[in-house]
Subunit: 364 residues, 2 copies
């Protein structure tokens, strides 16, 4: 089933290794294995590298549930990261000709994966003039008799949009009678206090992982939470696509989740520092504008000079080592994706370098 290049992933794959100042990554600065194991060790002799428990052990599922307000272990299954979680949900529940709705600028998976399966996909453009917000009526207006699923990313990559409780409750209320699934990729969600779609809606499906605020993308550990029927159907498909995450990754994920408050404290501190640096930079840098989000690790930097974003990102990287994903990867020109979780020192230096580079480029 044909798919176009996944622009943002392709950009990261092609350029990330050249970055000196990575200002675009959406993960918090990754932990080392040593840092993870500093909190708790694993017994290497009793860790047998067989398939392990296929859909995840009871205790790992309970640890996942600690991110939510409700749910039982039969409402959870594990997988390799949130991207795979989304893929599993879509390929389990969608059929050719189903109608899907999602928001743009957004994560390309939500548009092109359903399309490759023969679904019709409608998009709702987020309102940049109002802080990249979304009027729930604009989503409701797209719903028709063939609508099977609405896909949200909350907070949203790349805009940082945090869909409000009012938005989520109203959308859930409207979708309920129509049996429409709301798949919500909550990979940028930071705390169990932020509303999860799976806690408030029977046909709400939440996906998550340890990759972003928990800074452990390298474990490739994610999960799906939904109603029992959905999770059962996903588990049937899992047997054809992945079998299990394996016991090693599961044990390490368990340790990470058990100590999540420590890691979240570290992440929050990094994110706050970066936000302060960005705010301070913007006081003197008037060519850029950004809506910094209350939660999550991602924002979308707008600039008001005339250079296509791909050219800007490419030349900037080549000449300064400052690394951004261009807005063109999200079909949204004159923007750069600004990540909030990497090294604050690099953020400070990188932003200054970029300003100086633009001074020279545009005014020389």
């Amino acid at each position: 089933m044909k798919l176009p290049d996944f622009k943002v992933e392709q950009w990261m794959n092609d350029h990330e290794m050249d970055a000196v100042y990575n200002l675009t990554d959406t993960c918090v600065k990754a932990l080392s294995l040593q840092e993870l194991l500093s909190l708790e060790t694993i017994d290497e002799s009793s860790l047998i590298l067989d398939y392990g428990q296929i859909t995840g052990s009871k205790h790992v599922k309970e640890a996942i549930l600690s991110f939510y307000q409700s749910g039982t272990i039969d409402q959870v299954t594990t997988c390799h990261g949130c991207l795979e979680a989304n893929h599993l949900v879509m390929s389990t529940l969608l059929e050719p000709k189903d109608h899907v709705i999602t928001c743009v600028p957004g994560y390309q998976q939500f548009v092109d994966l359903p399309r490759s399966m023969g679904c019709r996909v409608s998009t709702v453009t987020l309102d940049e003039a109002h802080g990249w917000s979304c009027d729930v009526n604009r989503v409701k207006d797209q719903i028709g008799s063939a609508t099977k699923m609405i896909i949200l990313n909350n907070p949203n990559n790349p805009t940082g949009t945090h869909f409000s409780d009012a938005f989520l409750y109203e959308l859930a209320r409207f979708c309920k009678d129509k049996n429409i699934y709301i798949l919500c990729d909550e990979v940028y969600r930071s705390s169990e206090r932020e509303t999860s779609i799976s806690d408030i809606y029977e046909y709400g499906i939440s996906t998550g992982s340890l990759s972003k605020v928990l800074a452990l993308a390298g474990l490739r550990f994610g999960w799906i939470k939904g109603n029992e029927e959905v999770i059962h159907a996903v588990n049937v498909r899992r047997d054809y696509t992945m079998i299990s995450t394996g016991p090693l990754v599961e044990q390490l994920a368990f340790i990470a989740m058990k100590h999540k408050d420590e890691w979240l404290e570290r992440s929050t501190s990094i994110i706050q520092k970066n936000k302060a640096i960005i705010r301070s930079w913007l006081k003197t840098e008037k060519r850029f504008h950004v809506q910094l989000p209350d939660t999550g690790t991602v924002s979308f930097l707008k600039y008001d000079f005339n250079m296509p974003s791909e050219q800007l990102a490419e030349t900037l990287l080549k000449e300064t080592g400052v690394f951004f994903v261009p807005g063109s990867c999200f079909n949204c020109e004159y923007h750069l994706r600004l990540g909030l979780g990497q090294d604050p020192e690099q953020m400070e230096k990188g932003l200054k370098l970029m300003s100086r580079w633009i001074d020279l480029r545009l005014h020389s």
Copy 2:
């Protein structure tokens, strides 16, 4: 996209934990993390848990190529196990209405996954009377203008069939002009001396993993080897489904592959012991028959008394702890899948227990 239960995986998931004598697992007795790390340690402080190199590092790809006679690192990509490798290949290359051919009894993924994508699937039944062999003309006879892919499992689960060089070369020769892919799941292949489809055919795609003869299913590490065009297309899809295996799994996989000769020696010894035990058991146990394969870890035990295989497997497990996957999971009655890689002591005890149990059951 709807899928039926994956019978053998479901059976394993539902019953494996109750097994005392596991005579059906197709993996060699799994290694512990300690055993794996006894050969080489990893530097936990320099192992940063970010996404790592997206399609796998150069050195891990070179290690994968050591299983083959030919190929460059651009002809290899990594993933989480061989099942995912197969899934990636099928979902990348197949479109609705394509025609696919595979052999039965075989691995259900090869039939039901393409069907769920809207493909037409033809099956060729392996010839039990001739040691579960396959006449290449019977496959060729199925090929038509819509045929896009032939899927083999070499050696084959559950029959142990090892497709001969003559078979593979003739099929490749016949398919070449028609641009038909041959996807060959080589997860049970033991050595680079056994012919791999990707070494002999331009449109041949090999998938493999560390799960079976290398006894490391828990790492969930697998790969795909094919021509550069196929691997590029798979890598595009990978961005929508998995991103990367992560650096931890990759490093451990690298250690395993670097020392594969040591592990293969251990595995060969276990498999030989089990085969000797089975041969000895069959000398006095006339109700069972099996074609023990020259290579691989799987065989298909036939019995000649009148009890449906599911009833046999279920009651046997419940009353004795002896665990088999019934032939019904492969739509092939009066058979049990017999794995060759688990603990020989358990094999010996388990087979004796089964004989005694049947004596009591059938003749009381």
